[in-house]
């Protein structure tokens, strides 16, 4: 189990706390001097069973109460650093005020000695902190609440992400906790220019969305536009970063992604250094980056750890594989139905003999096989692992083998779909889009043959060249053409040739690296890089 380890993590409550309530909201009321009244109010506001309170007295007999969400706090730490010191507190030497001993904020802060302690004045703020996993301490006679940051959230350990496995290179992956993810990025970019701006999104979930950028390197217009768009999101809850991605897309109905995704902090950091803006969402291990180009889908982190020749071969392989994955079933169908010349004679005869007595037309046959593939894929993801083996046997042997021997499907169709399925996973980030496109192409191939395939390709290309995302065309650097950015596209140049950041990102700091002994820049040229590097 990847999620087996729970670790203790103490979270510092946010210093720049923004109250969610305004003056018209009754929750904005301040604390009462009476602890009893405050307790009643909080229980009224938070009637849920998992919001617990722990009442105790100081040695002097002053009533205190702790409020916290069950399962989200470190009770041991609270007992040791908060409840115990207070229960031993005696202030008899102090002036007696109305029959009770004075216990003010200063005394309390000195007594508790909790590493993360802050005060809140409004009930609404206190409620929000409790819901966020912090603990509220109320003392009878004081109109101030004390927030102790003793969060103990159930978080995964940092492991290698299953969707982005690297043979060479770092293996750390993001987890569901945004603070941990921020620290993973900070660990790689130890520069004061790395900035985070947290925006709270979701009326119910109040999810922290951290926008991350490198000051002086990321395009400030892009950063501002992203923050603006996120601030405008009105939604009940944000369970995953994909919800944020949907709101950042200029074409929400598009089958193509408009925001980059990664589960790896090293990739995320590299994209931030390139000049992109990153987005981390609490509760999601998938980080977003923008602007995004389709070219990014063909790049992997390993490309930068192996020789440029190998990286180029891998990228071209991915590109060709993706086209094979999407187009092969469609071309197979259109070759049989409309353009037999596409197949060499020998192969055509083989296919003809295998499809001779099939009850289904080529298009319908391919549709059935593709449907089987997608079903098996979906089932294997959802199915418990202990029945996975059975699924393989049923899927591969019973369905495949038997369907062929029963004369229901042909062997070439199964081979083609299987190969297409394998090829699709050479570009894992494109699988969802690729699957949809494969169905679309199959549909047009069945109806219009190769003409439909070419026409749909032209249509998609035109659709893509007119797609821009935060100022960056999605097909860049191919359209609009940028010679310099082509050095890190399908052909990967060596590291020394990638001395400047991609032009499409319009970074104010162009210089990424300087080759030792390289040509010195002229005075005044690219001043931004000199200032920021």
């Amino acid at each position: 189990m990847r999620e087996k380890v729970n670790k203790l993590r103490i979270v510092i409550p946010s210093k720049t706390h923004t109250p969610i309530v305004n003056k018209t909201n009754p929750n904005a009321q301040p604390f009462d001097k009476s602890l009893q009244k405050n307790t009643q109010t909080i229980k009224k506001l938070l009637p849920s069973e998992d919001i617990l309170s722990y009442a105790f007295q100081t040695a002097d007999g002053v009533d205190c109460t702790l409020f916290y969400a069950d399962g989200m706090v470190n009770k041991e730490l609270l007992g040791t650093l908060v409840a115990r010191p207070l229960s031993f507190l005696e202030l008899k030497e102090r002036e007696n005020e109305g029959g009770r001993y004075a216990l003010n904020e200063e005394t309390l802060e000195k007594t508790i000695r909790f590493p993360e302690l802050k005060t809140v004045e409004a009930l609404a703020d206190a409620v929000k902190e409790i819901l966020d996993g912090n603990t509220l301490l109320l003392v009878d006679g004081l109109q101030t609440g004390f927030i102790a940051g003793a969060k103990l959230l159930p978080v995964r350990t940092v492991t290698e992400p299953p969707t982005d496995v690297a043979v060479k290179g770092p293996r750390e992956g993001f987890i569901e906790d945004v603070k941990t993810n921020m620290s993973l990025v900070r660990k790689r970019l130890k520069t004061p220019e790395l900035r985070f701006e947290t925006v709270r999104v979701g009326k119910r979930s109040d999810t922290a969305v951290a926008v991350c950028w490198l000051e002086g390197t990321s395009n400030p217009e892009v950063k501002a536009a992203i923050v603006e768009k996120i601030k405008k999101i009105e939604i009940d809850a944000v369970p995953d970063s994909s919800y944020i991605a949907a709101f950042l897309s200029p074409r929400p109905h598009s089958v193509f992604r408009s925001v980059g995704t990664t589960e790896k902090p090293d990739v995320f950091a590299a994209k931030i250094v390139e000049g992109r803006v990153g987005i981390l969402v609490d509760g999601s291990p998938i980080a977003l980056t923008a602007p995004f180009t389709l070219n990014e889908d063909f790049q992997t982190s390993e490309d930068y750890f192996v020789s440029p020749f190998m990286a180029t071969i891998f990228r071209l392989l991915r590109f060709v594989s993706l086209f094979v994955a999407i187009l092969l079933p469609a071309f197979y169908v259109s070759a049989q139905l409309f353009k037999m010349q596409l197949l060499p004679l020998g192969l055509m005869l083989t296919i003809a003999s295998s499809v001779l007595e099939l009850p289904l037309s080529p298009a319908l046959e391919m549709f059935v096989v593709l449907f089987l593939l997608e079903t098996l894929k979906e089932a294997s993801i959802r199915m418990p692992k202990y029945v996975g083996m059975s699924l393989s046997v049923v899927g591969a042997l019973v369905l495949g083998e038997t369907a062929v021997s029963a004369g229901f499907l042909s062997t070439p169709a199964i081979i083609i779909v299987a190969f297409s399925g394998i090829c699709m996973y050479t570009v894992p980030d494109f699988v969802e889009t690729g699957s949809i496109l494969r169905w679309l192409y199959l549909l047009v191939a069945g109806g219009l043959g190769p003409f439909g395939i070419v026409l749909l390709s032209a249509f998609l290309l035109y659709y893509l060249i007119t797609s821009d995302n935060f100022g960056a065309p999605i097909l860049a650097p191919f359209s609009p053409l940028n010679r310099r950015d082509l050095r890190d596209s399908f052909v990967k140049y060596n590291m020394q040739s990638l001395a400047t950041r991609p032009n499409l990102l319009a970074s104010p700091n162009k210089t990424r690296l300087r080759v030792m002994g390289g040509k010195k820049k002229k005075q005044g040229e690219n001043d931004a890089s000199d200032n920021n590097d």
Binding site: F338, F451, D468, S479, T500, N526
Partner: protein
């Protein structure tokens, strides 16, 4: 050297750069989009009239078009404003007449490419008998193309570098081994009347400057733009001439019967009998460029119509124009030969006039001394 940036001009909020094309895109359009239609039906038409001398009328076209292109570029270089902006200033409301005539011309110029494309699609994409409406989906594509701004045309040009060059070179390499260039000899075998006939019949294929006018007309001319566009046009011309030479070298006396040349030029490559007609993959790649080329006149019609009508959205006009074109093709494709002959014998002067017309921009007043360096955007 200061790096250029490709951030979208719209995003930067620069209204001057909105919906603009740059010289690189025009150059690529001239180099890799314009030649595609000349590789379709023009080779067989040229071969029909002039046999091995098919390069001669093509050369005549290029000399004529190059002269007009130079004039147009000179006119464009004389101001920081675009040609169309200057036209609007000079003629005021009367400039609408120019746009109306351009819209009408491009609608007229789309006729032959559409008819050619329909025939080509049925020949190259189908071994079986296609349905009557198989080609109709192309007009949906045209309508979609027409809805976008002129910037999209520029980006098509960028993409054509990959979509044209790779398959073109691949097909040429496959064909070169089988070509016999002695078929082109002797030169000047046919008399001038044949050359003139070939010239007139292929005027619709070679009226390039008119095709470039909407792009150059929207260009803010900078230093070096003229050379770029000129070189682009030169590369396109060389591609076409080279293709014509190889095509005739391959087919010789039966070249006039070989329609849709680029789909057939590599068919005798020996390996194809073993591995199948993989040359079709390259042909299909070229077809994507061809689709954009054929959609371009309709696009220009929609563009100028929207300009005349001061329409903000082009969706309705785009679909109307595409539907009109569809109806025309649907009802007139059976008269293909008659229409072709009518264009070659009677209507070809219209293409020449509209090719020559851009020289009139030279009459516009010069308002700057020297063009500046190119603006940093694409």
């Amino acid at each position: 050297m200061q790096a250029t940036t490709t951030i979208d001009p719209d995003f930067r909020g620069d209204p001057k750069q909105k919906d603009a094309v740059v010289s690189r895109q025009i150059a690529l359009f001239a180099a890799f989009v314009l030649p595609i239609y000349k590789l379709l039906e023009a080779p067989s038409v040229l071969a029909r009239f002039t046999g091995g001398d098919l390069l001669l009328p093509a050369l005549l076209h290029y000399v004529f078009q190059t002269g007009v292109l130079i004039a147009l570029l000179v006119a464009a270089s004389r101001s920081e404003k675009t040609l169309f902006e200057r036209l609007d200033e000079k003629l005021g409301k009367w400039s609408l007449a120019v746009y109306i005539s351009l819209a009408a011309y491009f609608l007229f110029a789309s006729i032959l490419p559409l008819l050619d494309l329909e025939k080509f699609v049925y020949a190259a994409f189908f071994d079986t008998a296609p349905t009557l409406f198989s080609f109709a989906f192309f007009f949906l594509f045209c309508a979609f193309v027409c809805t976008k701004g002129i910037k999209a045309m520029g980006r098509i040009a960028d993409l054509s570098l990959f979509l044209f060059l790779l398959p073109f070179l691949a097909l040429l390499v496959m064909a070169l081994g089988e070509a016999d260039f002695t078929n082109l000899l002797p030169f000047f075998e046919y008399d001038l009347t044949h050359t003139v006939s070939a010239f007139s019949y292929t005027s619709p294929h070679f009226s390039d400057v008119a095709f470039l006018l909407p792009l150059i007309g929207n260009l803010r001319f900078k230093k070096g733009d003229g050379v770029k566009i000129g070189v682009g046009y030169g590369v396109g011309s060389l591609c076409t001439l080279l293709f014509l030479g190889v095509f005739y070298g391959l087919y010789s006396s039966i070249a006039w019967r070989e329609h849709y040349a680029f789909s057939k030029i590599a068919q005798y490559f020996p390996a194809l009998s073993v591995i199948g007609r993989i040359d079709f993959l390259f042909v299909y790649m070229l077809c994507i460029v061809l689709f954009f080329y054929v959609a371009a006149p309709l696009y220009y019609t929609a563009h100028f119509t929207a300009k005349v009508g001061k329409l903000r959205g082009k969706t309705a006009i785009s679909f109307a124009i595409s539907f009109a074109a569809f109806l025309f093709v649907l009802f007139c494709n059976k008269y293909y030969d008659a229409i072709y002959a009518f264009f070659g014998t009677r209507l070809f002067p219209i293409f020449l006039v509209f090719s020559l017309a851009p020289t009139a921009f030279l009459l516009l007043k010069k308002d700057r001394a020297k063009p500046q360096k190119e603006a940093p955007h694409a």
